[in-house]
Symmetry: C2
Subunit: 476 residues, 2 copies
């Protein structure tokens, strides 16, 4: 302590308490299956157990850890449990946690190249690695006019894409004049809610987002897209942006990117591809068909924080033309000017995102890729694909369940033929049991159960157990 009265944690105390927390996490890893996957607390339970006022003086670390166990843990829904099959997985891993810990310890702010060159350069580097690992088009490599950046979420990446597309479509005028009301965006009826949110935020307005119909596999119909674009053009409106989805949230439907991309080229629209969950599957050469036509896209996002063992937040966003992004997002006040930026030889990632500040998130991705190696990550994803096919085959062969959609990646959509009320009851029973956590969607208007297989330690025995529980709930 440099100053009397300020109870900083000394490096020695940090060593001691750090080990305590590391041990706590290791024990959590060991016993995560003992917890109910879905938290069973009622609204207000957690707050009621917390001290009403902040403490006047500092408290012992053990007291905080005791409350972590006693108050916080009952209120945790265990995303890291192998029984977590809801939404999409957000898997983590030892190396990711430790890479993130190094980032917290360094506490650097990578808004400009100069404010930590390694934060920027390692990020550019691992983004190029990712492009190589997924065999993404050359256009997304930093060696050309494009490149990659880590954002917090696919939502933010999509918003960034919309802003860049808006600016490009209006010849750089929207930044000055604001949106003037006739820009039109397109996405499928099955696209993620973040598309509408981005369109709203950008001042385009949800009325100007066309919801394009899907085929029987819930993928966008290119012919319907083209028809909608023509109709808008005929009415004097300005089509500017299409979001295709590779792996929708409801059912992992794969939009035909090549057909959509050709239409976008024909009419001069920005094509953004949202592969938030499914992109990771392209680690496997046999799965790269999901990206067919991606070289026609202007931007692309997938989330290593979903299925690539890198804990949230780590969303990988690529653009084919970084100039469009930077001209849309750069505002340069005097206090951020510096020689390196002025030289034009460096990347300042602040101009590739909405926020100014940024964490050193590349570290965790770098730790993960080096710890697992490309083959280790491939083996990980391949096993989940196998388990998904296995589970889908059980559903297909069962008398009392049916597949509700194709299962091309790591999600199975299925339902009991008894109707919404029966499926709702099955879901509620499963989730109340604490053994597994599934979520639902609606496909063809019908309530549908979703089982995602992507947690770090989800193995065949967990999937078998889930199926047994589902069968038990169905016959209860």
């Amino acid at each position: 302590m440099d100053r009397v009265g300020i109870p900083h944690m000394t490096p020695d105390e940090f060593r001691k308490r750090g080990r305590q927390v590391i041990d706590w996490i290791a024990a959590y890893m060991e016993r995560v299956e003992d917890y109910p996957v879905l938290s069973q607390v009622e609204p207000g339970d957690v707050r009621a157990a917390l001290a009403e006022h902040p403490p006047a003086t500092g408290q012992d670390f053990d007291l905080v850890m005791a409350d972590l166990d006693g108050v916080v843990m009952p209120g945790i829904t265990h995303w890291q449990s192998p029984g977590f099959h809801a939404f999409f997985n957000a898997n983590a891993s030892g190396p990711a946690i430790l890479g993130d810990l190094v980032s917290s310890g360094l506490g650097v702010q990578g808004m400009l190249w100069a404010t930590s060159p390694a934060c920027t350069e390692l990020e550019t580097h691992v983004m190029d690695w990712l492009a190589e690992m997924l065999d993404l088009p050359e256009t997304f490599s930093s060696s050309g006019p494009g490149g990659g950046v880590i954002q917090d979420s696919a939502s933010s990446a999509t918003l960034t894409a919309v802003i860049a597309a808006r600016e490009k479509a209006t010849g750089g005028t929207t930044n000055h004049t604001g949106n003037l009301g006739n820009l039109i965006a397109y996405t499928s009826a099955e696209a993620h809610s973040s598309i509408e949110k981005a369109i709203r935020v950008a001042g385009i307005g949800a009325d100007n987002l066309r919801s394009i119909e899907v085929d029987e596999a819930f993928a966008m119909r290119p012919a319907a897209l083209e028809e909608a674009i023509r109709k808008d053009l005929a009415a004097g409106r300005r089509p500017f942006f299409v979001c295709a989805t590779v792996g929708t949230t409801s059912s992992t439907a794969i939009d035909p990117v090549r057909d959509i991309g050709e239409i976008c080229r024909r009419y001069g629209l920005w094509l953004h591809v949202d592969a938030a969950l499914a992109g990771t599957a392209a680690l496997l050469p046999g799965m790269r068909w999901i990206h067919d036509g991606l070289e026609l896209s202007d931007s692309y996002v997938f989330n290593p924080h979903k299925w690539m063992l890198t804990n949230f937040d780590c969303s990988a966003f690529f653009v084919a033309d970084r100039a469009a992004l930077i001209s849309a997002l750069s505002v340069l006040p005097e206090y951020l000017r510096n020689k390196a930026s002025a030289s034009g030889t460096v990347i300042d990632y602040r101009d590739w995102q909405i926020p100014l500040g940024r964490r050193f998130r590349a570290l965790k991705l770098w730790f993960v890729i080096r710890h697992y190696g490309v083959e280790g990550l491939q083996a990980f994803v391949e096993e989940h694909l196998r388990l998904t096919r296995l589970f889908a085959s059980w559903v297909e062969n069962a008398d009392n369940f049916e597949l509700a959609a194709p299962a091309p990646v790591n999600l199975v959509c299925f339902r009991h033929p008894g109707g919404d009320a029966v499926n709702r009851r099955i879901l509620d029973n499963l989730n109340a049991s604490g053994d597994v956590y599934l979520s639902h969607t609606r496909l063809d208007g019908k309530l549908t159960l979703r089982l995602a297989i992507g947690q770090t330690h989800t193995a065949e025995r967990h999937v078998r157990r889930a199926w047994e529980l589902i069968q038990a709930a169905a016959t209860a």
Copy 2:
């Protein structure tokens, strides 16, 4: 390992490697002053030392740690050094790092209350604690119609405020129709670049952001604001949003929030107050004058990740009417519907921000507040204010330097009377020395040096040393 061929880190390996990383950080804390504060690498140096391709198979953890030392560390600008006086500080602390580590270990996703009730409830709780600690107006407490949320940055919080204000001003129509071009926003000529960025992103357009003149202390002139509003109204435009700054980035100027707030009430404008850096000063009763009139504001942001020992990212955003926020940002797809949300008794923070996903960031803030206690945090801030006054007094009494602005918080703006070239040379020499890192701004058109005092371990000896170096550079 559950599966052959997937090299997961076992809990035991995690214990071992976790200790290694904890020890590495503790050693970094001990030797941080030995590094040049501003990284001395040239563009491309870091990338040139990294492996060109990702490894096919997993590598030993020691190899990664060796590259961390050998390749990454030379490219780090040491924000945690006591000699870091550039921009604004982004201080961290042991308890914050460990709270964040717990968050990484749990790996939960707090988008909905149900997806981890503790993530939401602890956040609401510590935000109420913060409101109490800073004596913020009752309007921002979760017990009424308002409340707080943690965002990644003040930039994102300001964008969120703009979106909510836009929606409210247009009676909930912009979400549907898009911005129609006549909304006008106001901020001072000294406001942060994130205001313009938010106005651009929201489709309002920078031409519709009025830059209001400042007084001799660089604070917004309320009379000029009112005049600008009247002029726009007379021209048939729709004034909707004002951003006042409590502690500008250039010089920590404090806009007169009460006067501005009264004008906003009179004309029905949303008042957002950006106190990103300075807000923390209100921990001290003697500094609460900076928030005078805050009860007239609709939203407020300050960053515990700047000056409250909580590592980035942790930006505290408060609104007086959460309904306005939620109606602007909520999009509810089937796959996110759940009983708790439908009951209306819980908060779903996804509707309080742009992204959908969210980390458990409340943990680090909770760890910090409990470890230091309110009095520990007050002592911390008070010492920095004392050091700032001390440094300002040296400048005032020096023959060869002058104060360029008042120093009400923890930043001193000063310059050599010799003109821009001399000040530029002094700055470059200081930063090349590696002993300290200062940044600059422009005030009254003149290049001005900025010395911010807010790092975790910045003590009187560091500030004295900085002054000696500045004097040496000036007389060189």
